[in-house]
Every structure is written in structure tokens, then in C-alpha cells.
Amino acid sequence: MPASNDTIKEILTEAKKLKEADRQLLLKELKIRRLLADNKPIVRARKVKPLSLEEINEIKHLSRKGHAK
């Protein structure tokens, strides 16, 4: 049975959505690649020993307490 106009319209709408999703994914990937290429430093201090995850976690909880005050 041939597809009705409504069905074709639905398929076209879905296809457009998919294309938009693909476009967004591609855009996101390009932005991330740009980040990698730029490689701008986030931490500017040198020779500071990184903190462990436990220490960062502790700071997170302390910052929450400060925030609650």
C-alpha cells in the first residue's frame, strides 16, 4: 500500500530532526576538537602538587557548608 501524504510528512519531519541532531553532534565535536587544539591552561600555578580526589571531595563539602551559611 502506498504511503499516505501524512506518513510521508511524518517521515520527512523525523528526517529533519535527525539531521538537526547530527548537525548538533558534529558542532559539539568540532568545539571539543578546538578545545583540544587550543589547549589553554586552566591551572596557571606551576609546581603545585595536585590534590587527591578525597581532598577535592572534602573541599566540595566545605564549600557547600559555606554556601549554606
Binding site: V43, A45, P50, I56
Partner: protein
């Protein structure tokens, strides 16, 4: 195919950044088509922790750090009200809520990990990983 989604606790992002390993997350995202899920609450907490006095010695460029997380991440709006998931710390509930709302895996702190078994039993699609398990999965 849909990307694999992950909600990372702010302390995981910070751990990568202060160990000068920020590119690892970007590389994971591209290589494994990962989607890092973020929300306003996560960014607010991330920003707040980075501004905490004990981290000033790192001279963190907070603006750049937020830019990296928002570029890596896809922003979702958290649906309210948020249920209670982590009895030890209700401030962690938003991470689980976000993971459940977006069908993502999540990697969290010790309070979240301590509830791993309970939550994974209750929510079959939820996967809670340590940072090491997350890295093992994609490295």
C-alpha cells in the same frame, strides 16, 4: 547510534583539571562519543568549589574551566522536585536525579558510591562508577 551519556560529579572535573589532564576528558568524548551531561546546579557547584580558598594556590582560570565543562557538556534542565537518593548528603541528590532523568551513567563522590548498590538495584539502568572505573571503561 545514541551517544553514551555521563554525569560527572564536579570533583571529577576538578580532579582532571588540577592534575593538568583536562584534555583526557575531551579525548574521551571524541574517541568514545561520550556525552557529558551538565545542568545549572552542577555548574554552580563546580564554580563554587573552584573558588574555594584552598584551591587558590592553583591559580585556576575559573572562566576557562567553566568554558571547558560547558563545551564538553550538554546542558539539561533538572526537573524538580528532586527526590531523596543519598541519605548521607541531600546535596548530592541532584547528580542522581540528573543521571536518571537523562539515562546517564554517573561518577560521584563517596556518599554517592556508598549508595551504589541500593540505587543500582532500584534503578536498573543506573550505573554508578568510580573515577578509576570510568577511565577503565574508556581508556
Amino acid at each position: 547510534m545514541r551517544n553514551k551519556r555521563f554525569v560527572l560529579d564536579p570533583n571529577i572535573y576538578i580532579s582532571y583539571f588540577i592534575s593538568r589532564n583536562q584534555n583526557a576528558l575531551a579525548a574521551f568524548a571524541i574517541k568514545h562519543k561520550l556525552e557529558f551531561v551538565i545542568c545549572d546546579e552542577l555548574i554552580a557547584e563546580f564554580r563554587r568549589v573552584l573558588g574555594y580558598p584552598r584551591l587558590t594556590k592553583f591559580k585556576i582560570d575559573i572562566k576557562q574551566a567553566v568554558y571547558v565543562v560547558t563545551t564538553l557538556g550538554t546542558a539539561y534542565t533538572l526537573a524538580y522536585p528532586i527526590k531523596r537518593y543519598i541519605p548521607q548528603d541531600e546535596n548530592d541528590d541532584y547528580l542522581i536525579a540528573l543521571a536518571l532523568q537523562t539515562s546517564s551513567g554517573t561518577s560521584g563522590d563517596y556518599d554517592i558510591l556508598s549508595e551504589k548498590n541500593n540505587l543500582e538495584r532500584k534503578f536498573k539502568k543506573l550505573k554508578i562508577l568510580t573515577k578509576a572505573e570510568f577511565e577503565q571503561l574508556f581508556s
